[in-house]
Amino acid sequence: MGKFCKWKGGDRPSHARNESFPPECERPPRAARDPDYSLARRDKFANDTRWVTSDTERVTQNHRRDERDTPLSNSQTERIRQDPLFAQLCQSRSRLAWTLSALVLGIYLAFILLVAFGGDFMAAPLVTGGVTTVGIVVGIAVILTAILLTAVYVWKANTTFDDLTRRLLERSR
């Protein structure tokens, strides 16, 4: 991308390493760089009425799409940091993460303590005369709970947290 990304007046000085590029030096949108990509986009969204119709706007949209991969500028980061939504996102995400971790750890700790001190209980058959012990069932239950709690986190991350992140990014532009 050298051709598009020269710092004004020669090489980029080291103190400006975290600065964003001046607008004329921005990486061109992928649609402009890659004609195949642009065509594929056009086909994909040709029938979507929500999608912008004019070609220039389409390129702008593609550019926005690319922006997800480019780092945010300092002013954008600052705007996001001051957004109440950002605080909400951080708070709810860390609350969920710590709650679920505490749950998993607690359940596992109980399992260890049962193995350590409740040997008789764990070794008892589930039904009198049977061979399957309580321990086997408890062990499998711990595994299934861990999988279930992972599913809870993934579901929340894919719905609530991703939604909040998207809204935050849109507002910061």
């Binding site: 998993v104 359940i107 193995v115 070794a123 012990t133 062990g139 711990v142």
Partner: protein
């Protein structure tokens, strides 16, 4: 480090394909050459090296090499991590532990599994948000660069050496057992060279794809075996356990063992083992 932690299991993957081959060996004198094992091994090696070649041609930048160009989807990466997880330890070590010690062996499965959700809840998202390649990069980003990098390199090497010793012994022994004509030291060299080729030429893309294939094979094979075994007992786990207790030399002890069979249960040992097991994925997967 993820690339490093990802590859050791690779070498064992082809051998997991050979559930019947282990029984093909006859007891009488010189064992016959196990052609089915050799052919399957070579086919798998050719196939995975093909993937490595394909990935190497497409690897052009650091992001390509370390993070597969950030083009791996969540499902693909999940399968690849599952492939990591189901290494020699899972399908040789734990199987043997459960066979010899019954319920005590199950503790290992529980402990290792439970560490994963915690990595997901507390570490993975922060790590991803920083957009770095390795744990050392993340630590160096926040802290003083040089000492952190030295420490990370040292601890990574220590972890990898101990991890690799187990994996290499497992892989080398397995290849030697299946094809007795290959000496143990030769099989370790074969496996080691293959691992180095996979990672250095293919980078993250090749390792990830080989792991995905391995995970799919193992998951598919294990599921098929579980269904067939259960079908044999008309889908009654109780009947299966009863039969296992009947034919196992330790009989009922396999269902009741809180410690290795033959040793006296000790609460402190049990707690210590439990904490070790849950720390392992926490420590290993963040590096």
């Amino acid at each position: 480090m993820r690339a490093l932690s990802r590859f050791p299991g690779l070498a064992v993957a082809p051998l997991a394909l050979l559930p019947t081959a282990a029984f093909a060996q006859t007891a009488a004198g010189e064992p016959p050459i196990n052609w089915s094992a050799i052919v399957m091994f070579l086919v798998f090696i050719a196939f995975t090296l093909g993937i490595t070649y394909w990935a190497a041609k497409r690897t052009k930048s650091a992001t390509d090499f370390y993070a597969a160009g950030r083009g791996i989807s969540a499902l693909q990466n999940g399968l690849a991590i599952a492939g990591d997880y189901m290494s020699a330890a899972s399908f040789l070590g734990i199987a043997a532990l459960v066979y010899f010690n019954g319920f005590y062996g199950l503790n290992y499965s529980v402990g290792w599994l439970v560490g994963w959700p915690i990595v997901l809840f507390l570490i993975s998202e922060r790590l991803r948000n920083l957009g770095k390649y390795t744990f050392a990069d993340v630590a160096a980003y926040r802290l003083k660069r040089e000492p952190v990098r030295v420490m990370a390199a040292l601890s990574t090497l220590v972890v990898v050496i101990f991890y690799l010793i187990g994996q290499m012994v497992g892989a080398g022994q397995l290849l030697h057992t299946l094809v007795p004509q290959i000496q143990y030291w030769q099989s370790i060299i074969i496996v080691g060279v293959l691992m180095i080729i996979y990672v250095t030429f293919g980078g993250m893309k090749a390792t990830t794809w080989v792991q995905i294939i391995k995970a799919a094979l193992l998951l598919g094979g294990a599921t098929l075996m579980a269904i067939l075994v259960l079908a044999h007992f008309h889908f009654s786990p109780g009947a299966m356990f009863a039969e296992a207790v009947r034919i196992h030399p330790s009989h009922n002890a396999i269902m009741q063992s809180m410690a290795p069979i033959g040793s006296k249960p000790n609460p402190i040992e049990a707690i210590s083992l439990g904490l070790t097991l849950i720390s392992a994925p926490l420590a290993c997967r963040t590096s």
